[in-house]
Structures are given as C-alpha cells and as structure tokens.
Symmetry: C2
Subunit: 370 residues, 2 copies
C-alpha cells in the first residue's frame, strides 16, 4: 500500500486552530516530539482519557494495537494533551466531582461497584472466563443431562462423584483407586460422549440409570462433554486458580434448594450454563432464570443483562408457577436431539422441579453433599 | 503419578465374559493387536459408533485426544467391535432403518436438516464462528450504538460508510482516499472507543451527530469497538471466506424493514449480536427477538434455541406491540453505562422502532443502501 500523502484538511470546529496556537494541557506545545518525550518520562500513555482546556468533554485518545500501513508516519501520532472537542457539549454544567470520576479509565470501563450482590449468567462453557467466576458463588447448570444426573446420583445415596475431563482420565483414576484398594468394590464409571454411554463404562449419562440400587454408597468417576468441564472451569482447576469461592451443582430437581443456598451465602453470584456444542441451551438458561427469579423475589440483587433476561424468559416460557416448564424444555434443540436418540424419558425427569433438597458442591475435585 | 496396576474387575453384565469367549463384531478376536491393526489398515477409527452382536444399543467408543497417565497401557486401549451393553434397552424393537441411521456420526451430531429455513441467533461477536454465518443471510445488530448510527447516517443521506477495525486503519484509509482525490471534500471520520469520540475524528458514535447537514453525500470512515468487527466477521473478511451470503445492518430504527427483507430473501438466517465487552447485551437480543417474532408470524421457520428465546423475551419485556421497549432498553447494562457518560438521548433514539425503511447492506467493505 502506498505511503499516505499529506493533504489539506479543513479546520474542524476550531480544534486545529486551537492546536496551532499552542493551547494544550498545561499550556505545553503539543506535537510528536512532546508525545515521544511523554512516553520516555513515564507520562500519560495513549489510550487514556484527557480533560483539557478548550474541550467541552472527554475524548478518547487511541493507542492502536493494530498498527496499519503508515503506522510510523508522524501524521498518525496523536499528541497528548491537545485540545479535544465536545460531543454535543453534554458535559457543560457538571461539577468538579464528576470530572474527577471521569479521569480514570477504570471508572469508564464498568459502572461503579454497587453494594448489593450481583447476579450474572454465563451462557456457555466456552464463554466462561476466569473473571466471571473469580471470588463468586458459582452455580453450574447442565440440565440435559450432567447436573441432573449428578443430583440424582447423590440423592440416590452415591458417596461422591469425581468428574473427569475425558473417558481415559476417568478410567485411569478408577483403575488407580481400585489398585490402591485392592478391588473395584464400591467404584463405578459413568458418563457419555455424543449422548451415549462410553464403551466399557458401567453407566451412561441418563439420570434414570442412577438408582439407589446401582449407586448407593458408591464412588463414581464421571465424564461428560460439557458438564464436567464447566465444573472444573468454574472451580478454576484449568485456569490456574482464581476460581469461584464455591461451586454448587444445580438441576431443576434441586432448583429451589440451590436458590435458597445462594440466598444464604455471601458474595456475588454467577450462574454458569454449560450449553450444548458451544452454543446457547434453552433449558440451561431457563434454570438460570428460575434461580434468578427466586433471588429477585427474596432479596435485593443487581441483575446483569443475561440474569434479567433469563428471569423474564423463565416467567414467559415456563410461567410464574412453572406450569409450562416441561413443554418449554421438551422444545429445546438438545431435548429434541436426545429424544431422537431414545432418551425421551430423561427429558421429562430433567424438567421436574424440586424432587430433592440436596445441594451438591464441587470441592477439591469431588462432587459431594456437604 | 504411578503406573496403574492391573486389578480384578467384576464381570459387568456379562460383557467381559463375552469378550473372553471371543464374541466380537463378525466373530473376530478382539484385543489390542486387532485394534492396532485396524488403524494401520484404514479400519474404523475409535470415536465412531458401532452396532454389534450382543449389544442392546449403540455405545460410544472413545478416541481420547487428551491422553492421561498410562495412555499407552494396553488396559486402556478399547478393542473395536467388542460387545457393548445397552443403556436401559431403549433400542429394542427398532427396525433396521433406524439402525442404519445411527451408524454415521453425522446423524448423531445434529438433527436432520429440515426443509424450512432456519433462524439462529449468535449472542456476541466473540461467539460468532464461521459456520454460524456460512452461506446464510446475516443480520448484524449493535443497537447501542454502531448499527443505529449506521442506519441513521445512511438515512440522513450519507453516500456510504466504510467500516474500519481500528482508529488508525480508519485514518490511513481516509488519508489515502483524500490523497487520491486531492482533498478531504466529502470525507468524514467517525467512531468511538470506550463510548467516546476518537481524538481528531469528525464524529463520534452518537446517531444524533449524523444529521443530514453533516453527512449528506459523504463517505464516512467508521470504527467502533464491537459493531464494525461484527460486520467484518459476518462477511468473512477476517476468517478467510466462507462468510454470509448477505450481511444486512439492523437497528430498531429500521427493524421492520430488515425483517421484511429477510422474509423475502432466501436461505437460512442468522442474527448476529455484537454484545458488549465480550458479554451478552440485552438490547441486541431484544432486537433479534423483534425480528425473530416478525419472521415467526409471517412464515414457517425453524427456530434454534436462542432465536426462540429472543422472540419470547421481546414479547415479555417489550410487549407484543413494543410499548415497553424504551424502558427495557434503558434498563440494559450498556444503556446505563452510556447514560452515565451523558448519552441518555441516544438511548431514547436507539430504542425507537421503524423511523426509516432503508436496509443498509455490507458489501465489499462498504455499508450502502442498495
């Protein structure tokens, strides 16, 4: 690409003429030289905000990460402290307190931290970032079917469930514990890939398999495509610490119990939906909405967009009393996929509210009922 | 970690004893040797489905990408074609047609392609994958404020808008065109970073600035944090082709016109929300919901989860007639952030339905009214 030519540019609302007259921050002469010097002396870095004489409001002074063609051309260096121009003069008449608040970048990046507890929802495993869960109470949701199966297994008396990222990891840990104990007594392998039981595993991912007869008193090594990974990511295992302060396991089966536990806990709340194949899952958002709506009714919280949307969605699709919940869940993409695989009965079970009041928690690699 | 010891494992529903008797697929002797051989001779790869004698249903035979400790131990190689065990016997009594359909992996990964047009919604720029838009009609949505500003500018008579990824790119392209033309007559620079006009730019990202007096007949180089990137990603510029067949630009200001254009177009539809700072934006999902609800009323479409949810959300939060739209948008996180920056009037404008019937389209790097 050619070197950009220098062209005459018309005066823009006087900004150019002010600059030419040397009216900058503190009266210093702005220009490329001063810009370089400011960098070298630890002055303001580009990309920060400046409020300057002759300006009707703050402007953003860019610090380009992606330098395009002509990136070193002096024409494209933005002098620091040169006069800006107001956008519609919206700032006129604001007091000095307001001006001080606008000086920092942080105060513009997010609204000031409210005193109330925040409720947020993350729609998929893939969208879950460490900062979404850090220090918060995380609720992991994978209605179809991982968390429904976990809740069912523990309600049926399973001793604990140890989530594994892969079938191989589950098998290796199973074998290791069996070797240490001198037998496989009391151990089970469970989980799915592509919705189906894994070759050689005792159990699949259908909650209907996790009966008291099969699982009571057992330690279950368990792996699913999204659910177990969401547990780990929420806990910070994969991201090297900085995870949630607590990780609760939610299904419709224990939804009210989880909501009550969240209410009685401290700190901000993030409802982490596993999603399906990287995308949004209606059934997960509906459960997030059920919990959010419960919190909304019982205490003052600050709802982030998706938390507010999920609560409205639950009321709209399932009804305030959950009357239409089974129908709403059955219409979800993944429910129809599982029904086609022959797991229609699972959908009915997983869309049932409050069959148990246990609140499983993920702690040090194990899901247990505390 | 120690090498896993070999342990006695109790017979699981007869699978072990069948295997020991050599009853595998086609009567071949299963085992690690056969497994290795199958790989070498181009046989079935692990990770596919098998329906085998002695099995009550398909099981998933894993192909682990993440080999854990003991990954080469023969204990952990899964022989191909060895007998599986049914999950609850759900497949009994199904005909051979059903069995054939289950043989391929593809038929399990997604439901069979329906004849109707599909409507999907992608919640954020970050979640937008090439396969979400490939060959589809894409509608790009960034209500606060990029697409509202684009629609306003073109409705005010701007000749065209050329989106740029960065302020620097916008400036370089502006300068290059000015040099070629011998002047900046008819050219403008517009856009924002952190919600504010960029230093040295003619216009910010407030639609109120884009009046006929300012922009009529002009070519505008335009950059915003999320909106312009979403346009490009939908068009496939960044992803090396495979983009949408058409990329339409939607705001509430032209919402019904966009919905009608989508109705009269051909092919699947994806509503691409820009989102805010990597997260879900309520105002974008509401517009996606408005368009989805319009499509739902006027033709048979297949709605993916988030499209169905967005339509329900729009009806729930804005009302069937949009009566509560302004209030719903004003309550969104990003709206409150912009209001704190002094852009409250923008929120009111951006939440206004159908002020124009233009449908801007992004073609070869330019947003124009065709």
């Amino acid at each position: 690409m050619g070197h950009p030519g220098r062209t005459d540019r018309p005066d823009r609302d006087g900004a150019r003429s002010l600059r030419d007259r040397g009216v900058g921050a503190g009266g210093h002469q702005p220009g490329p030289d001063r810009d370089e010097g400011a960098h070298g002396r630890g002055g303001r870095r580009p990309g920060r905000l400046a409020r300057v004489p002759g300006s009707g409001g703050p402007v953003h002074q860019p610090r380009d990460h992606h330098r395009g063609p002509g990136g070193d051309h002096p024409r494209h260096r933005v002098p620091q402290g040169c006069p800006g121009r107001a956008v519609g003069g919206r700032r006129h008449g604001r007091g000095p307190l307001r001006v001080r608040r606008l000086r920092g970048v942080g105060s513009l990046e997010s609204p000031p931290r409210p005193a109330e507890r925040v409720v947020d929802v993350v729609p998929t495993l893939q969208a879950l970032r460490p900062r979404d869960v850090s220090g918060r109470v995380a609720v992991v949701i994978d209605v179809l079917r991982a968390t429904s199966t976990l809740v069912t297994a523990l309600a049926a008396g399973a001793r604990e469930v140890r989530p594994a990222a892969t079938p191989r990891e589950a098998r290796v840990r199973y074998d290791r514990l069996a070797a240490a104990r001198g037998g496989t007594e009391g151990l089970l392998l469970g989980g799915e890939r592509m919705g189906l039981r894994i070759e050689g595993f005792d159990l699949g991912n259908s909650p209907l398999e996790y009966t008291p007869e099969r699982v009571s008193g057992k330690t279950i090594f368990f792996t699913t495509t999204n659910g177990t990974r969401t547990l780990r990511r929420a806990a910070g295992t994969r991201t090297g610490g900085g995870g949630a302060r607590r990780v609760l396991v939610a299904a419709f089966l224990n939804a009210t119990a989880v909501a009550k536990e969240v209410l009685s806990a401290e700190g901000d709340v993030v409802l982490c939906c596993a999603g399906t194949r990287g995308g949004f899952s209606l059934e997960d958002i509906l459960l997030a909405g059920f919990i959010a709506a419960h919190l909304e009714r019982n205490a003052p919280f600050v709802f982030r967009d998706l938390a507010r949307a999920a609560a409205a969605l639950y009321r709209s699709m399932a009804g305030e009393d959950g009357r239409d919940l089974a129908r709403a869940v059955a219409a979800a993409d993944h429910a129809r996929h599982l029904t086609a695989l022959g797991f229609g009965d699972d959908i009915v079970l997983c869309a049932t509210l409050d069959t148990t009041d246990i609140v499983p928690e993920y702690r040090r690699g194990r899901v247990v009922v505390p």
